[in-house]
Every structure is written in C-alpha cells, then in structure tokens.
C-alpha cells in the first residue's frame, strides 16, 4: 500500500485515503476530432514499466486532485504536484532524472 503526499494540503497518507484517477496529462479530444483520435482519448492509455504520471484525488482528505510521478516497477514516488498543469513541472522532471538518468519526457 503506497504512501503519497498530497501537494494541496501537505498531508502524507496511506493509499486508502486517496482515489486513483488513471493516467495524467491527457488531452481531451475536441468535438470535431476524428474517430481514431477520439477512440485514443477514451481508451488508449500508457502502461509503462517504469516512470508514469498519474492522477490521484485526496478523496478522504482535502478532496482535491493532484498528480504523482511514480515508477510502476519499483513503486518509487518521484514527487507529487498540482493537477492544474498540462505537463510535469521542471522540479519533478529533475527529480526523475536524478533517479533515472536515462529517462526523458517524450
């Protein structure tokens, strides 16, 4: 069971206090998107063995959403950050690179 730190309220808590929300940084398909683009938006998700960005909600705490950068293989948490962003901030990317030198945001 993971431990995560909510960047909104600063509380570090058990996984059961949070609800997972799947992959982060998806771009919502526009109403005039092609069938293929819309399908990908609805269903195609990354499932990496390694660094992953995901959405969490502090459901039994402050109620707010945030993002976590995490390794799906080792469960290492590189950091958590605001949900009001469309890409992982520099400090998170630096934290990942410090631990995974080969990693880059593609």
């Amino acid at each position: 069971m993971l431990m995560l730190t909510c960047p909104n309220c600063g509380v570090t808590a058990e996984e059961t206090e949070f609800e997972p929300g799947g992959e982060a940084h998806l771009t919502r398909a526009a109403t005039d998107s092609t069938d293929e683009a819309f399908r990908d938006y609805l269903f195609q998700r990354k499932n990496p063995r390694g660094v992953h960005f995901e959405r969490w909600r502090h459901a039994y705490g402050c109620g707010r959403w945030f993002h976590a950068a995490r390794c799906t293989q080792t469960l290492e948490v590189f950091g958590t950050y605001t949900a009001q962003t469309s890409a992982p901030p520099d400090r998170i990317q630096a934290a990942i690179q410090a631990r995974r030198p080969d990693w880059s945001l593609t």
């Binding site: 993971l2 431990m3 929300g21 109403t31 609805l42 959405r55 469960l75 290492e76 948490v77 009001q84």
Partner: protein, 1006 residues
Amino acid sequence: MSTRLATGGVLIDRTAPVHFTFNGQKHRAFQGDTLASALLANGHRMVGRSFKYHRPRGLVAAGVEEPNALMNLGFGDTFEPNQRATTTEVFEGLTARSQNHWPSLRFDVGAINARLSRFLPAGFYYKTFLQPRAAWKHLFEPVIRQSAGLGAAPAAEARDPDTYEHFYAYTDVLVIGGGVAGLTAARGAAGGGAQVLLIEQTAALGGRALVDGAQIDGLEGPDWVARTGAGLDQLPNLRVRTRTMGAGIYDHGYVLAYERLTDHAPGAPGPRHRLWRIRAKHIITATGAIERPLAFAGNDLPGVMLASAVRDYVGLYGVSPGDRTVLVTNNDDAYRTALTLLDAGLTVPAILDARPQVTGALPDELRARGVRVEAGRGLAKAMGTTHVTHAAVCAQAGEGAVLETIACECIAMSGGWSPAVHLWSHCGGKLTWDDAQALFRPDPARAPTGADGKPFVSTAGAASGALHATEAVEDAAKAGQTVAASLGQDGPEPALAAVNAPPEAPIKPVWLMPQGAGTELRAKAFLDFQNDVKVSDVQLAAQEGFESVEHAKRYTTLGMATDQGKLSNINGLAILSDALGQPIPQTGTTTFRPPYTPISMGGIAGEARGALFKPTRKTPIDTWLDANGAHWEPVADWRRPYAIRRQGESVASAVRREILNTRGNVGLLDASTLGKILVKGPDAAKFLDLIYTNMMSSLKPGRCRYGLMCTENGFLFDDGVVARLSEDSFLCHTTSGGSDRVHGWMEEWLQTEWWDLQVYTANLTEQFAQIAVVGPKARQVLERLGGLDVSRDALPFMGWAEGSLSQIPARVFRISFSGELSYEVAVPAGRGLEFWEKCLDAGADLGIQPYGTEALHVMRAEKGFIMIGDETDGTVTPHDLNLSWAVSKKKDDFIGKRAMERSYLNAPDRKQLVGLATLESKTVLPDGAHAVEGAKKVNGMENMIGHVTSTYYSPTLDRSIAMGLIKGGARRMGQILEFPVDKGVTIKARVVDPVFLDKEGARQDV
C-alpha cells in the same frame, strides 16, 4: 512411548498444572506447554491422519512449520478447525479433537487410500474426472466434496462471540522476530533514540537460543535472553510485543502483524486477536530459519521428527519423544539434539551422518560421550505401522540395501536449514542461492525498495543465512546499527555479544535418502506431509512436462497446504531440479505470499461487523419512520422505507394503499436522500452546460429543469432537476446514490480540465431535509401551512419559490416524479422532522399518508420515468431512452457529445426503451427477463433481443406494467414479444409506449 521428563523444560511452570481433553480423554499439562508438547507428554505420538492417504501422522515440528498436528479446537460458538497444536498454548479446559479420520484416529476407513496410492498419482484429479461428463455432477463432485477439507466446518448457526480489532502503529524501525538476532538488532537500532517495535510470534523471547546450548556473554542462552529482554524493557523508545506474528510486508513499509491476545486465556477481557497495521520507516526481519526434513521412505511415520523439534520438546517443555532416538543428518547442528537427549538421560543408539567424512567439534564431542557416529550412512526407511519401531540403516551412496535395523521410538532428522525468507520476499526482495550452506538467502543488493527508492527491509541473523550463532549475532548487530544510521539516529556502538559456540563443519546437501532410492522407496518418501506429496509425485510432474516450479507446485499441490510448504518447498524444488537436470537456482522458488501463517477471519474483519460493517446514513425523518412502521431497504448508503406499514398490514398491501392514496388524495415522501449540490460562480452556467447534456445557461432564475449527465463515453450516469437560484448559482439535484459521485465528478472536471472556470461546488445533501407533498390535494396542505403563495400562477409547474411555510424557512420546488401535483419542500435538516409532522397534521382530514420507495418506483414507472440503475447500466445513452429532447443540439460541447456521434451509438438496432404490456394483464414479468426472437443461435442459445428493466403491478391501472430495453424498440410498437421465464413458461407482452398514465402530463400541471 513419549512422556514427561522428571526435570527440565525452560518454558513450563511445573507448579502450575492445567487440564485439557484430547478426543474426549482428560489430560494434565503445565502452564507454558503447547498443545503439541502436552500431547507428547501424555503419550500421544499419533495426532492425526493425512489429507489424501489418511496415513497416521505425528508431530514433525515444534513451531509454525508443523504440517500434521492440526486440531479441531473448542466447541459450539468458539469451535475452530485446523488449529496447529504447536502454536496453541494449553489452557485450563482446552478441548481438542484430531481431524480427517472416520470413525476414529486409530481406526480410519479412509486409510484404504494409502493402499490405493499408486492410483492416486500427481494430477490425479486432472486425469481422472474428465469423462463421462454426467459423472462429474452425480459422482465425482459429491465424492470430492465429501473428502475435501481437513477439519470440520463450524456449525452454520454458530456465531463467533469474540471481538477483534485493528490497531494502527507507526514506528521508525520494526524488528520481526525476538530471538538472539532480533534482540540484538533491536538494541542496536534503538541505541540512538529511534522508535523501535519488536514483535515475536510466540509467547517467549529467545528463539533457538533457549535450546541450542550456545553461551552468550558468559551466560547460558535462556539467562542471556532474560537479561536482554529485561534490558529492552527499560528503553523508553523500544516496545516489545510477544504473541504477535509478522504476517506480511507490503509497499512503502506497510506491515500487517497478527497479535493473539486471548487464545491462551479464553474469557479474558478485550479482543481475541488484533491486526496491527504498521507503517515502519525500516523493517528488520530476524525470522530465523526452518529446519528441512530428509526425504527417506517412511519419513512421515509418527515418531519421525525434525532434530530441532526433538531438541525443543526436550529443552523447552521437558518432554521425551521416546527413550531411544536415532539421529539422521547431513550437518553438524543436529548433533546438538543428541547432546540435549543425552543430557536429559535419554539414549541415542546411533547418529547416521550422510556425509562421507564426519569431523568437527560437535561430532567429536558426541563420540567422546560414547555415541556411535556412522559416516556415509542414511536411512533406507523408518519402520513401523502407527509409529516408528526401527530405523533401517543403509549407505547414503547406495540404493537402500538395509545394513542393519536399530530399534528406536524416535528418529530425529535434519536436512539442513532454510532461512525464513518469506517476509523479505513478500514485497519483492530477491534471493540468492548459497551453495556452501545449501540454502536460499536474501540478496541484500536486491532488497525491497520504498517510496524513496531505497531499501526498507534488512535481515538479521539466521534469516540472513548467518546460521551459526556467532555470525548471527554479528550480522544482527550490524543490521541494527546500519538501520539506525540510515535514519540518522545512530547511537554509540554497543558491545558485541560474545558467543561461545563450537564451530561447525559444512553441510552436504541430501535431497533424497539414499541417493539411489528406487521407485518403491521414493513413493514412500514424503516432501509435503500435509498434502501427501512424495518424491515420486514431483518426479512424475517433471516427467509430464511441468517444468516451471509454479506449475509443478499446482500440479502436485506441493506447498499448497495450510503450512504453505514451510518444510517442503526447498526439498521439492531440489527434487524437481534434479529431475530436470538443472541447478537449483535455475528452478527458483515459488512466490512467497502473505500471510506468513494463517490468520483469523475475525482478525481481518476487526471491528467491521454488524452495524459497524458499514455506516448507515439516516435522514432527519428516520426516527419518525422507524417508529411508524417503516419496512426498510438499503438505498446506496442510506436506509429508506420501502413502505410504511400499518398494524397488521402486509408490505404489498401497504404499497398498494400508498399509491392509491397518493393518486387520490395526498402522499408524503421523505426525499431527503436526494443529492443537492450547489454550483456557484461567474462561470457556473457555462460549467453546467458542459456537465449536463441539456442547455442549463438558458434556465431562468426561479425555474427548474430536468437534466442528464453523461460520461465521456456518452452513457447516461445520473439525472436530476436543476434549479437556478440566481444568475450565478444553481442547485443540482442528483440521484440518492449519486450525490458523492456527482460532486466528485464536477470537482474532477473543475480541477483537472477546466481549472480556468470560476466555479465553486458544495455538496449540501445533508444540510436539507426534502419532503415531497404529492397528490391532488397537495396544494391544500401547503396552503394550510401558510406563509407562501403556492398557487398555480405564483408557483407554476417547474418553478420554485423561497420563503417560509408554517414559520419554517423553505424552498419549494414544483417538480414531480409521480406525475401528480407535487411540491418538493427543502427545509433546514434540523427542522425536517418538525415540517414532516406539520404536514401530517395539516393534511390529516385530507387523508395524507406517508409513502415509501416502492410506491415512488411504481408511480414513476406508470409515468414512464426512467430510474438510474434500472433503465441505465452504464451502456445506455439518453437517445436509447427516448430522451433526445434533453440532449442539446445547440451546444458546442458537453461531456459525452463527441461520443454520441460515434457510429455504434447511432446503430439502428441499439436497444431502446419501450413499454411492455403483458397480454395477460395480471401477470407481472420478472425483472431482468429476456425477450427472445427467431431461431436459436449456433451455440444453442436463444436469440435474445433485450430485457425487462422495470416491472410492477400498477394498482392505478389495475394491470401489470413494465419497461424494457429492446433491440430496435422504437420500430416495434405493437409487436408481441416472448419472454421465456422458466422451463415451458413463456410470458407474452406487447410493445407499447412506456408512458402508461397521463401522457399529456395534465395531472401534474394544475
């Protein structure tokens, strides 16, 4: 015979006798005995029958690894099957019965299976029960069910009277295991002030130091343990819990531990078991090692025991396993057992050592004491029927020719030791094969890692593979200090305990005894005692292609019993490796999974039983309803009255009365459970246009609109009436079960997608009581309450007004879920009951009656209104439900808009909502019944074209009514569909408009 010795036994208190019964016989034991030692002390060498062959079985081990001595314990409500005698502390009045035999332990009909054993090979079930098909149901399954399981199931009416609890603990360091290594590591870890919790699964600290004879710091083992334990008690930052087993290690330092508080003292106050949910920054597993049996023929006979177990029974409990014990070993440690036996005045006729040369301090000491030590020797077999009578000696190098037989009551065997690596492995710690010691040990370079990517589990002592006491203490001291340093809390380096124990010569691995044992012997050489898996079974599995250790395990059931292969796994995979001609590390181990030993279901449940299993949400009207005949039903987390019964009334007649009264006079519904979400801000209208399929921005303040919410898939997931309170604020009603979900949904979009919108949401569901006054006389009731103009002109249908009714602040919504003239009145929750009672008073002479959820359901179905969860199941669009009018064509975007344009969601044969009128008007269709059409499909199934979603008997129309989702439903008006509901029974129903009553809506708009 086994018996109690006159002296000895460091764990028992000879001044405190206790009495227990075994199979109805009363026996005496001492405080500190386990049920196992007490049975042995009373001459019971045979304690059960094996699972498959019903072979007589005795105690093999003295601890958690014991496979055979499983007991039915207690009776009545406290009865429990499959309890290990070796981990059950004896108490006054304990009642135990042996298992898996009929009619008695000594004479067991099932023992015929042993004679049939060559017809019961590995994979027997898979091979035998394939054909004929019919035999499965009538023959095989009943027989298998009869023979399945070990102990008896508790009686169906039995209810566990004990209480259980969960306990949360946070610590810097958790040390699991209270032997010398655990004590040393804990002392080291705590030296600099770190918070340390040490748990030990048994009642006593000390582990093997109590019997292994090593001197530590000039003290005998038990004395050192007592002194060290007392020293730890003085440390304010160190807590010790005995009878607490480390059950599992999970991600990020999460640990489950299982404390048995009153198993040894039934009736004592407090919970029986406590499940500790621990978060530790670092965990040290000092779980020791488990001795391996040797695989020789007859190694499962009562009287054949692990050498360490023999040492335990003599040393810890003062129990003799028999006058004469033959020792068979491949390592030096087992010689300690011989020393213990000699010191207790018992006889060791011979030590059979499989190693070709036997040198070293311990063997020499035994030789010096006149014991015959035979090198290069093993056992051809253990002889006897219900217990050991002789040991048949052979050359380990040979095929089992018997050189001599030695009379004995006990055979003590040792195949070496395997570190207890379970906890290390639970969370991903990897193992490495140590060829010199012939064991898998934790690889410190591949430890489980935590949230920071750093290792959070270390091992100490024998659990690291440091088997010798000197190495174990060094290893544990290092582990403790390293952990303290990693936490920045290192203290002064404590003095390393000085261990005085003789050096040991290397082990020689022996996986089969003798190495050339033929078929006959291999078929009697057991690996897994509890599941009756023999060397021959594993070899057969390999021969049949089950090469992966995980496959071989499942095919043979090796290691799948309640002991989870603590004794058998390493021996089994060594045999498998040999059969496959590959080294052991290439075969690898099976996966170690928590819990380490079985834990009670009560412990897992903790306090969560009965009313505490799940909180029940109650409305402000709950007490009144409960006192006035509510027949409750759960609705999401709420309880709501299905109907409100009068004295002597059936539920069905109550529902019927409530409906007719509401349609004829006036009814009162507690609708407080409806979700109420306030959406406020300059962009509130814009936001709701995105959330709802309808246009909400065009709604005028003072007006209400029914709205639909879809997912991005275009599927309907919630509905409700939206009231515009002001230019920038809306009150969104949701379904009773959906309020939290919808609120979360709105927040998700606001926070993660449209965070530029200036909108706040608040879930006000519990702030208001909401009471629906429904029926032709509803207006009269409100007029009598007074304070607000509720006339048609002042408050038209789908309008709302704010003011006070009978001096209670109220918001009145003219909305209707029944098709009648209806006012839903929201009042502050604290005044809900008062308002409810005022309505009842005001409407008494108008015939006002409360109604429940079933009447609500029937009335909405009469009107063809959908219910989320009945007409929707997560695959249904608004268009499927004839709700296209509520899906805006003008809006650029809303959640679900793009999805609804997908070709699949516009296919003409999609299931669509229709009404269903049975041809026989009194017959009510079963809920969920399927309509079938045309020829059967190629697989023999009926061609199903849809199903019933809501179905009731309508007292208003005096006929059955139903709704269903039927393929191409809109095109089928007037068609007659067939619903086969049982063998030979088919109900016919005509496809009709789903609005059965008042299609024009005249009744609600008055």
